[in-house]
Each structure stands twice: as structure tokens, then as C-alpha cells.
């Protein structure tokens, strides 16, 4: 037990002693909040032009999280870099020579990075929600006490955390930062969006981690036929995360460092 504490201490020292940690997490917060406020402003100014159906399904809470489409990329970058730094620098060899119990090393590193992502994710979620609602104004805005709103805000923080952990798991498998960025960024930025936009593949896209996980942020039930609720969607995303971590662990166990 003392051993695990020491490895956690070591990993905490690693994560806070490199600059990439600060700039990726700061970017996640600034981009999500800034873009969210901007989009809320835009929506308020054009709300009167919306069709009646769009007005009926308008989700004020989810609108404040619109910046997350871009902000999540910084979270993914955080998840990638925290793992790939070890491999791209060769530090992994020194790390494993110090902690040859590979499962312990991986668990400590993922735990520390996850906790940090959770803290930043939660701050980001609340920091995006309140200014967004303020900009939308009393006519459109939701209140934190309204049904499902607190769940959506906390869920947004969880979503940002899980997306980072998913990137960590995938990077344990891929190791190279170029490879991880090259696969994860297009996956979340384009492929997921394209699949959900094309009607033939829309149902398939419901099962993607970001599509499923982002359900937690919607308060007004979407008209579409999603086979799960907000927490069900979160569970689907969590399953992806567990699978990615498991693949990462198996890779770390088996492959030469």
C-alpha cells in the first residue's frame, strides 16, 4: 500500500512538472467556455429566426456546452500527451526500471491524470454553464435547479474526463503521439460527425463513445430514437473507456518497452 502511494506521488510529480499538462487543460477550459458563450450569444440573437419545431426542442443547457466539440480535442490532447510523453522521450524505460510492476505504473499514471482531468472537467462544465445561461438571458435560460440540469452540468464534467481517459487507453496501445493524434482527432472531429449526419449510419453512430456520452448533457429529450437515456449513454461511453484501458494494459504487459 505504501508502495502504491509512492508511485502515485511519483506520477503526480511527473504530470505537474511538464508544461503540456497546463496548456492542454487550460485550452480545454478556455475553448469550451469561450466558444460556448459565443454560441449562446449567437443563438440568443437569432432565436427569433428559428422554426417552431427548433424552438420547441431548444435545449438551453446543452447550448452552453456547444464549445465542447472543440474543447474536447484539448482534453484528448491531454490524454494522449500524458502517456505518449513517456514513449516519445524514452522516459518509459527509466519509469519501468523504477517500477517494474507494469500494472501498478499504469494504474498510478491513469489515476493521477484522470483525477486532474475530472477537476478541470468539472470546473469547465460549471464555468461554461453559468455564463452561457447569463448570455442567453431570462427568457431562454435554464436554471441549475430545473429538472435534469444539474445532472447535465455534472455529466458534462464527466464527459470531458472520460474522453481524456479514453485517449489515454488508446495511447497506451499506440504509444506514438503522432499515431494517437492522427487516429483520435479525426475520429472525434470528423468521422463521428459524418456518421451521425448520414441517415444510413446514424443508428450506428449512437454507439460511438462521444455520441453516447454527450447524451448526458441534453435536458430536453431529443426527438430521435436513441436506445438509451442520459446515464445509459454515459455507460456506453464508460464501456469504451474500459475497453481502451484494457487494451492498453494488455499491450503494456506484453510488449517490450
Amino acid at each position: 500500500m505504501a508502495r502504491n502511494g509512492r508511485v502515485l506521488h511519483s506520477e503526480w510529480t511527473k504530470i505537474r512538472s511538464v508544461r503540456s499538462t497546463v496548456w492542454t487543460l487550460a485550452a480545454a477550459l478556455v475553448v469550451t467556455v469561450g466558444l460556448g458563450v459565443l454560441i449562446c450569444l449567437l443563438v440568443r440573437n437569432t432565436y427569433d429566426d428559428l422554426s417552431p419545431t427548433d424552438r420547441a426542442t431548444f435545449d438551453a443547457t446543452m447550448t452552453s456546452f456547444a464549445g465542447m466539440t472543440l474543447g474536447q480535442l484539448a482534453m484528448i490532447a491531454f490524454g494522449i500527451l500524458v502517456i505518449s510523453n513517456e514513449y516519445s522521450t524514452g522516459m518509459i524505460r527509466a519509469s519501468l526500471a523504477a517500477v517494474p510492476q507494469r500494472g501498478t505504473l499504469m494504474a498510478a499514471k491513469v489515476a493521477v491524470a484522470t483525477l486532474l482531468a475530472l477537476v478541470v472537467g468539472m470546473i469547465t462544465a460549471f464555468a461554461a454553464y453559468f455564463p452561457g445561461q447569463a448570455v442567453l438571458g431570462s427568457g431562454l435560460a435554464s436554471g441549475i435547479g430545473d429538472p435534469g440540469v444539474l445532472r447535465a452540468v455534472v455529466g458534462a464534467g464527466l464527459y470531458m474526463t472520460l474522453i481524456a481517459v479514453f485517449a489515454m487507453g488508446v495511447t497506451w496501445v499506440l504509444r506514438s503521439p503522432m499515431l494517437a493524434f492522427g487516429i483520435l482527432i479525426p475520429f472525434f472531429f470528423m468521422i463521428s460527425g459524418i456518421l451521425s449526419a448520414v441517415s444510413a449510419t446514424r443508428k450506428l453512430s449512437y454507439w460511438l463513445p462521444d455520441q453516447a456520452g454527450s447524451m448526458i448533457m441534453s435536458v430536453v429529450a431529443p426527438s430521435q430514437e436513441r436506445p438509451y437515456g442520459p446515464w445509459g449513454g454515459m455507460a456506453v461511453m464508460a464501456a469504451w473507456v474500459v475497453a481502451a484501458l484494457l487494451a492498453g494494459y494488455l499491450t503494456l504487459r506484453r510488449r517490450d518497452a
Partner: protein, 332 residues
């Protein structure tokens, strides 16, 4: 003490390390010598549990590396100098390693001073020279004050002063009773630091012998003479019973004789000498010869699986001109 038993690493059909069996003993510096690509680094990575052997095993004081709870107290290793995040300061780099093994903060400052990096402790290694990177790697090896030290090409990139410092340090660590295992592709470097020598080529053990025995078996001492009248000199030496061989730049070489005796013979015959110098064939040459043979041997035919390490099989030593005696020291 480090024990290797039949250690083998294959990548697909390519064998990087083939059935290495040897023991690295405490109290001496053991040199691990081989040309680039001989499998030295792969072997060292397997010793640290970083790479998984295809067959065979490594024991560190009787245990597998991953059975060591806090290994930095027992084994310190310098792998490649670049096992460092360029954006993390030297002090923080060492802290990360130290904390994981319960090594106190104070020790981080100590090893930084010890390797001469005290002044740049809070600088990012991004701007470090190759030599400074090497010193940081050595600092991390010394962190846990371990009984076993492994250095992979430690003098790479160091200036002459740094090289001298590393040599002295390794000798000092061995004198304290520690196990010191150091790899190099330079025989000349090993000759100055190692007490014991393990030579590999193409992943196979070529020699496991004491440094003295290796020098004895592989170095030829001779006297080089130069004279404006080489024919008269040769005749005078022949008359005294010394056989000469043509040497570099028209000089004459005489094996197994004292320089003083040869000088007296020349003086008695009234032959002018321009040079009279005792020489030793370089160990570098002996080493090249040794490893070159292994390359040739494996180039001709692949030995059957299970051939004994050290290349006792047919064809071994072929082409050796009698100076390859060290090759036959590979039974250990």
C-alpha cells in the same frame, strides 16, 4: 551479482541475442564489449525486465527484476542518455524516479552535485549537451545507492575530463564491492576500466575472460627498429639469432626481445638507429579480429539451434592466425 542463463531474444526470424550465459560478479568492473548492433543494449534491456526474453532468464541476486519491490535500491542503470523528458528539469526528473522508490528528496540534490549538474539542476534538459544528458543518466543510476550498476555506453558524448571522471567513478564503485557492468563498443575504453571482459558478436558470446588474460592472449609485444641501413641491421640481428619482419614505413619488427638488447647488437655492429621502440599490438585489433570472425562465421552458415554459446561448433576460430586465443576463453 547478475546471472544470465541461456538468454535469447528473437525478433521474428532474426536472432538479436543467442543463448547468452554468463555471470557478472561484484567487486570488479565487468566490461560488456561488442561492435554496434551486437545485441548489448537488447541484453541490458532484458536484464532490466524492459524486454521480454524469447528464452532463458536473468537473475539479479537470485531474483527476477520484476520481483524487486523497489529496484532502484538494488540496481541502478544508465540506459540511453535520452530517457528524459526534455521539458522536465533535471531535479524534477530525478524526483519522479526517487519518489517511486521511497528515496528521500535530499538524495536528489546529492547525486546532482556528485555528477556535476548542481548548477543546472533546475534547467530543462532540452538545452543539455550530450555529455550533460549522460551525467543526468548516471545521476539517476546512482539515486538509490544500489549494489549493482549497469551503464550502457557511459562515455558516449563526454569530453576527456568527463571520460576520466566516469572511469574513476566506475573503479571506485567496484572497489566498494559493488557489481559494475558497463558496455562499450571501444576496446581501448574497456582496457582502461574493466577487470573482466565479456565479448559478444552477433548476439553470441565470444569471450568471457579476465582483462589480463585477454591482453596476454591477444596482444603481441615487439620492438620496432628503424635504420638508414636496414640490410646491415637485419644481418646483424640475424647473426645474434633474432628474426626480423618488415614493419611499418620500412622499419623492422622483432618479436620477443628486449629493446635494450637489440640496441646493443646494433651498436656492436656499428649500425645507426633512427628508432628503437617497444610496441604492443593494439587490443582494438584483437577485438576487431575476434568479432569479425563471428560475423564471417555466421555469414556462411546458421548454426543449428541449441549450438553451445561461445561458438564451439565447427568453423569457429577458422581463419584465426593463432592470436584468436581469447575466442577459446568462451567456455565460462
Amino acid at each position: 551479482m547478475i546471472e544470465l542463463d541461456g538468454l535469447t531474444k528473437r525478433y521474428g526470424s532474426k536472432t538479436a541475442v543467442a543463448e547468452l550465459t554468463f555471470t557478472v560478479r561484484p567487486g570488479i568492473v565487468t566490461g560488456f564489449l561488442g561492435p554496434n548492433g551486437a545485441g548489448k543494449s537488447t541484453t541490458m534491456r532484458m536484464m532490466l525486465g524492459l524486454d521480454r526474453p524469447t528464452a532463458g532468464r536473468v537473475r539479479i541476486d537470485g531474483r527476477r527484476y520484476d520481483q524487486l519491490q523497489e529496484p532502484l535500491h538494488e540496481v541502478g542503470a544508465l540506459l540511453e542518455a535520452k530517457a528524459v523528458h526534455p521539458g522536465r528539469t533535471a531535479r524534477n526528473h530525478l524526483r519522479c524516479l526517487a519518489y517511486s522508490n521511497g528515496i528521500p528528496e535530499r538524495r536528489v540534490g546529492e547525486v546532482l552535485e556528485l555528477v556535476g549538474l548542481g548548477g543546472v539542476a533546475d534547467k530543462r534538459p532540452k538545452g543539455f549537451s550530450l555529455g550533460m544528458g549522460q551525467r543526468l543518466g548516471i545521476a539517476s543510476a546512482l539515486l538509490g545507492d544500489p549494489r549493482i550498476l549497469m551503464f550502457d555506453e557511459p562515455v558516449n558524448g563526454l569530453d576527456p575530463e568527463g571520460i576520466h571522471w566516469v572511469r574513476t567513478m566506475m573503479r571506485h564503485l567496484a572497489a566498494e564491492g559493488r557489481t559494475v557492468f558497463v558496455s562499450s563498443h571501444l576496446m581501448s575504453e574497456m582496457a582502461l576500466t574493466a577487470d573482466h571482459l565479456i565479448v559478444i558478436g552477433q548476439g553470441r558470446l565470444l569471450a568471457d575472460t579476465s582483462m589480463n588474460a585477454f591482453i596476454r592472449e591477444n596482444s603481441r609485444s615487439y620492438v620496432l627498429l628503424r635504420s638508414p641501413e636496414p640490410e646491415r641491421l637485419r644481418d646483424a640481428l640475424a647473426a645474434a639469432g633474432h628474426r626480423t619482419a618488415p614493419g611499418e614505413d620500412g622499419g623492422l619488427e622483432v618479436d620477443g626481445a628486449e629493446a635494450a638488447v637489440l640496441g646493443e647488437i646494433a651498436a656492436a655492429a656499428g649500425v645507426t638507429l633512427h628508432e628503437l621502440s617497444p610496441r604492443q599490438a593494439s587490443l582494438e585489433e584483437a577485438f576487431m579480429q575476434l568479432t569479425h570472425e563471428s560475423v564471417e562465421y555466421h555469414g556462411r552458415s546458421q548454426p543449428p539451434d541449441g549450438a553451445p554459446p561461445g561458438g564451439q561448433g565447427p568453423g569457429w576460430g577458422r581463419g584465426g592466425d593463432g592470436d584468436g586465443a581469447g575466442a577459446r576463453g568462451g567456455e565460462g
